[in-house]
Symmetry: C2
Subunit: 484 residues, 2 copies
Amino acid sequence: MPDTSDALVAALRQALGATAVLTSEAQADEHARYLSDWRQRYHGRARAIARPASTEEVATVVRLCAQHGVTIVPQGGNTGLVGGGVPDASGLQVVLSLSRLNRVLAVDAANLSMTVQAGCTLAQVQDAAAAAGLLFPLSLASEGTCTIGGNLATNAGGTQVLRYGTARELCLGLEVVTAHGEVLDALSSLRKNNTGYALRDLFIGSEGTLGIITAASLRLHPRPKGLCTALVACADMGAAVTLLQAARRDLDAGLTAFEVMEALPLSLVARHLPDAAHPIAPFNADPTSVPPPWLVLMEHTSSVSDTHAAESLQGWLDEVLTTGLAQNAALAHNEHQRRAMWGLRESIPLAEKTEGLMVKHDIGMPTSAVPAFVEEAGRAIAQRWPDARVVCFGHLGDGNLHYNVQPPALARSGPALAIFEGEVNALVFGLVMARGGTLSAEHGIGALRRDELARRADPVALATMKALKQTLDPTGLLNPGRVI
Amino acid sequence: MPDTSDALVAALRQALGATAVLTSEAQADEHARYLSDWRQRYHGRARAIARPASTEEVATVVRLCAQHGVTIVPQGGNTGLVGGGVPDASGLQVVLSLSRLNRVLAVDAANLSMTVQAGCTLAQVQDAAAAAGLLFPLSLASEGTCTIGGNLATNAGGTQVLRYGTARELCLGLEVVTAHGEVLDALSSLRKNNTGYALRDLFIGSEGTLGIITAASLRLHPRPKGLCTALVACADMGAAVTLLQAARRDLDAGLTAFEVMEALPLSLVARHLPDAAHPIAPFNADPTSVPPPWLVLMEHTSSVSDTHAAESLQGWLDEVLTTGLAQNAALAHNEHQRRAMWGLRESIPLAEKTEGLMVKHDIGMPTSAVPAFVEEAGRAIAQRWPDARVVCFGHLGDGNLHYNVQPPALARSGPALAIFEGEVNALVFGLVMARGGTLSAEHGIGALRRDELARRADPVALATMKALKQTLDPTGLLNPGRVI
């Protein structure tokens, strides 16, 4: 439909200004970053990339696309991991980038809240909170690039969920442009507001399929006055879960992170990124030594001081070392050591990537179920594919594991890889779902897990989701082919 | 439609057993408590009261009522304050009581979660958590009677929201019987689960108009090891809000409650419930003395011990007394004193009731807006009705005030009262909404605030809510005339 296309592009240019609408012919290079995800797994084409500068302009883009029967892919920082933010291969879709809606609208320190436009990067939001002496605790590897609108559209998780919750729990209100091109104002900064249905929560996590988030009110927290980080070695996952339970009981809200890493990902870091591999004694005593079976990274905050955080965490670690729950432990005694500990954890994805292709899973389950799952899944994979390897690490405090499997040598490309991927997914997801778990804890559904969701979701829940999509976006204008 | 009625009652009796279906003819006395709210403001009649004993029986009741075209009023403990849980006056509706679904299904201490049926009382849920050494922090005056299903259907608040959130933040998953009589299984116990739309959150707070909650997975917390409560006198609301801000900054998650009471409600307690009025020195130094302009009740928990909680709260109070932010303060030194402090706060509603009729408001706004609101609303009411009196108290930590107005002597009944109520509501809600506030912070909409919501809600939000209702309950079977 080239005529329709031209008319739409002309109308978009008239509404937004010529420079706010990119087309592939004119700006091929500029174009590229909107069309592929950053893992380079999804590559699409677009009729145009519209970059509105205000909520009203977003609504105009939606209305114009609706008039022309052209579907829309809303896009924030384009850092998603499930192909939810790039257009399909048809070249018929419009990418609606929120990146120019990038202003912090208000910070209300007394109310511990702030109001921001959707295109603000997460780092920008964190910085604005810090400038007011407060904390916006959402924290992700991609925080310099990802946007708060994308974080909310995907209900992002990260490393502080244990204490502060996911993006959902950090959002007080939203402004949304609907599929009808109307502006829904639910931008309240209230902690309690029982006036009808939770529209805010319906849009959060809907991955741009029900409406386009244009602004948000966010919940801020006091900045902890002290912080201490530690590495703890555990003999097995059962001990790590018991350690978590003890830490929650004894440190309560002071426990802000509880990450876990198995020996294999630590070995991969040692091989590919040796500078990151041994952050602190005793974990650097002998760089050639075998890593512990499981290493926990935990973070403890204090409302008093760094010294208080360190003393209370040291006291607690002395106890768990005495009881044998932990094999070994080390505190970070300064910011350099603290960063080195987090550097170890954060180096795993790059070390993995350097090692080669992995079939990745972002699974979640009750923490009580994790030890038996790790045991059973590991055994089943080893039996079925003796030379496959499991790279397991993640946010144990939330029951969320990144459970990645390196295919056997003969299944690392082509049809063999596709068959392996299908089989290992079936195995992993089967064991996860049998334990009341989820096939996507934090990454979302996007294009990657859509079929899997359709297969495995509760049928009444799935039918309800389809009905909601039909109600809020009856013509299928918004991000078609994603989620459901 | 007596024939239809009989056939439905017969079918319900056959499905549930004769004793599980009450009709007014047979059990008039037993009947009564299902038909009026506990404030005795709403009185209805019912064709039958169905008391299913399982999720499947709930689904059966829904299907039978749908077949007979009879609408359903779901009911938990019937302690709601907005007329959302009692039938209308037609005598044509069926009350569906969840009270027999009253089992705790599972407690998972390692996952800090539990699964319960909807008819469990809140106290029963709290007790089951405590028996596992854990905390379910939702806490309300009616906790011995209200049910967890009702708490979730209304997104209940209470005194611990500041730290632990409302019922919504304490829920991990739901089982719901839909308006089609199907069972929607979203009963997961996961802290992170990004697999499609937030159906759980759509049913939470929908007051039984979108589906019937039959079971829930709940988030548990560690039990604090120490606790200390204090009363603090402030010169004005501005000082109280600054005190709150300082407390959040310095005590962080250790601040678990921050309630406020103005002098007038304290005087009413002194007049009508003198034993409760003066819990502790210096606030009992002279029982005839004038109460402070504003009295704050704050609670501080510690992950260490009671002594630690008391010492750190005392240290903090010494500071705020020195800076002049507080006029006076007292710690509870034992459980008796602690209960006396809470007793003062909890006596206010009864003292109010004894004093006479009040036009009540459950308003919320950003805490930063509260001082100017209190000032402006007080002045406007005094100007318009010189002998009206404002009774103001509530959950300042959440920006939620119970802002009740005693009508002038000439407007305490009949048409004059109705006129006064309309005018004072318009005045109060107008000032609240102008500050980004809400006309119902925690009580919900029910029947009481339905028209007000229709008048004041964002029109796009309201239209969206209506579309959701139409989608999930196309025949209007569930709790018609409530919320929207």
